[in-house]
Symmetry: C2
Subunit: 242 residues, 2 copies
């Protein structure tokens, strides 16, 4: 599946830099610049250094082999969302779109967890390889003009995650489980950092919900509608973030 | 492109009914029931009548030709969102996903409008045919267990829309334009019905923004990040809805 983010910022890597202020790009980013921008010497593009500042790149050379830019970086990337996401691993078809989406939204920590209703085969998806994950996240950063890669951690075993990892993860945060039928509504504009847990299609089974609640998470609901995970995530994040 | 909604409710049409309480399904819904549910006589599925109530269907016969159910409908569909959406027409690749998404979220009125940054060719997309629109909306209803089709209206001319249609559309609502760089933040949990205007990739041009503001819409922003339309819509709706 082709992911269709828009490149609103060209992400630069350390090894793109041929001097302190100039870069040389080939491959995917060259192709993008040639196709979308029809670049001329002197044109400027929005760029950002992975993990660093954003700014402008002025084209000094553009051929079918490489594009060269002089860059001036001085602006901080947009603020991260103060929301960590714990997500039951979605279907492979969906995972790339979710990674792009959460990176664009500013989530900086995603824990992918197992559940009874997560098919075992999902954990074998190439979308979960380090390169697969990184490629999707980079598209999200380029979409949102961000430079800070989210950390994505995989937990193929539910119980050890809840017992050993969850307590540290939720410490100092408001820990919520999006759960249809929960007694409380999901709050608006949380005043403190949030850890948001979202279950698989069909939801957590009662045992899993009990473990998460015993681990300190509070179930909340967003109404009677059952949403696709790629719709539910931005819907709940929009509600929670100040 | 294959849309991947989940069928959480099987939508029934008037001509499925062979008597007051029994239906006979073929085609797409038969295929779905056979593949996903491996149905046996006596099994029950969640069903809903287009435009009407939801309830249960008990299978009375299932063959490769047709599935028959006795249905008992008594429950109202989930409440609609009190938010109408006015959306600059997105790329054809995106439009189907957006239609599915807004139908699942409970938007009941969508006006698709033109803009300088909307490519003219988008208006020719098969996704905008009555059947194309309806198919995508039905997937959204089946996803969210809803039965009420949203109304989708197309306005291929910007100026006549803003001058002639917008005033009636926004009457009695809080009319907002999601616009990067606007002075005010998008509110949380609106206490009154909302009309939300979302521009094309790259945004409205100044002339368009001025016309919309003169027409009574107020620009609001959701931060520095540039989101894909399919992420921005649920993000803003989650923020606005109570």
């Amino acid at each position: 599946m082709q992911l269709d983010g828009t490149v609103n910022l060209i992400l630069l890597y350390d090894n793109d830099f041929v001097s302190r202020n100039s870069v040389r790009l080939m491959g995917r980013r060259l192709k993008h610049i040639l196709e979308v921008h029809q670049p001329a010497v002197g044109d400027t593009l929005t760029v950002g250094r992975l993990g660093g500042l954003i700014g402008k790149g002025r084209i000094t050379a553009a051929t079918s082999i490489a594009v060269e830019m002089e860059v001036a970086l001085g602006k901080a990337p947009p603020a991260p969302l103060a929301i960590n996401l714990v997500l039951a691993l979605p279907r492979p078809k969906v995972i790339k779109r979710v990674l792009l989406s959460i990176a664009s939204l500013g989530v900086k920590r995603l824990d992918l967890i197992n559940g009874f209703r997560v098919e075992k085969s999902y954990w074998q998806s190439p979308a979960l390889s380090p390169a697969g994950i990184r490629d999707a996240l980079v598209l999200g950063l380029e979409q949102a003009r961000d430079t800070i890669l989210p950390e994505v951690v995989q937990h193929p075993l539910f119980k050890p995650f809840v017992e050993d990892k969850l307590p540290g993860l939720i410490r100092g945060t408001l820990a919520l489980i999006a759960h249809p039928g929960a007694g409380d509504s999901c709050p608006h504009a949380a005043a403190q950092p949030v850890t948001l847990v979202i279950g698989p299609e069909g939801g957590f089974i009662p045992y899993e919900l009990e473990k998460l609640v015993a681990g300190g998470c509070h179930p909340v609901q967003i109404g009677a509608r059952i949403l696709r995970v790629e719709t539910a995530i931005p819907f709940i994040l929009g509600r929670l973030c100040p």
